[in-house]
Symmetry: C2
Subunit: 164 residues, 2 copies
């Protein structure tokens, strides 16, 4: 890919509700830990792949490169998604919400198309029955039947990021 040099993104100070909700300036709100939540969906299927978090640097790099970068809360480091697994997420569209405290990325995933460290395409591979659906039981139902890769082969001895 040909990289075109563009200025570093500027984050505007948050000055008014009208500016934040109705304006054209990017004025993201980072929480007390310096993070903003990021929903990542598959640009092809529309499925939610993961919920991640970004700090200022991760958001800056995502905007500059067009590849998803996150802040790993379990490893406490900048995380260029796909650096280990090769499953890089190319950003087709980045959106910000009304009060600018959440990001939505629409991405194309390289390789097998998976985004979940357990091996599934989406991290959201289980359904919880709700309302009348619970007449048929309340156990979680798997929505993906097969893993797209073997996590042990890809990640080896990298610690599992799930925290109990």
């Amino acid at each position: 890919m040909h990289h075109v040099s563009t200025p570093a993104p500027q984050f505007a100070p948050r000055q008014s509700i009208a500016q934040v909700e109705e304006g054209h300036e990017l004025a993201p709100k980072f929480d007390a830990a310096g993070l903003i939540a990021c929903i990542t969906t598959d640009a092809g299927t529309g499925d939610v792949l993961m919920l991640g978090y970004m700090n200022r640097e991760a958001l800056t790099r995502t905007i500059e490169t067009g590849e998803a970068h996150y802040w790993s809360r379990s490893r406490q480091c900048l995380w260029h998604k796909g650096a280990t697994s090769a499953l890089v997420q190319q950003v087709e569209e980045l959106r910000i919400d009304d009060d600018q405290d959440a990001i939505w990325l629409r991405v194309r995933v390289a390789g097998s198309g998976a985004s979940c460290h357990v091996g599934y395409r989406s991290c959201f591979y289980r359904r919880v029955p709700v309302g009348a659906q619970r007449q048929h039981g309340s156990a979680l139902v798997f929505t993906e039947n097969e893993k797209t890769f073997d996590p042990q082969a890809v990640y080896g001895d990298v610690p599992n990021p799930t925290v109990l």
Copy 2:
């Protein structure tokens, strides 16, 4: 709607990574504030409508009733979405992610179909140019041209939830 009586949902204690990632028990992880993040998408279009948060009670009521309930961080109260605006979210599917610290709701919205207090269908009504897209400028681009309702008429004097 005919309500069928089913047992209250049980949240299992989190005992092992295998149980949390590969099991059939709902064992959600609430953060230090007692909340779990919830991505809500339109079951028809696949668009992300909002990112909300649930406490134990909001998740319990959502599972029991099949209508989305959240915890309002700005108002610090249980929030039955649509109670003020009539834009109730009927849950078609509730999913939980690998480490069970995020929820994905696929919903059908009543009435005009909007989910955003500013008046748009989705809270994510602005695009942030990334990568090569920035050659054409870096200002936010509106992806919805018209509001679906007049927030002043619907919410009147209810305080705006956006926090600077």
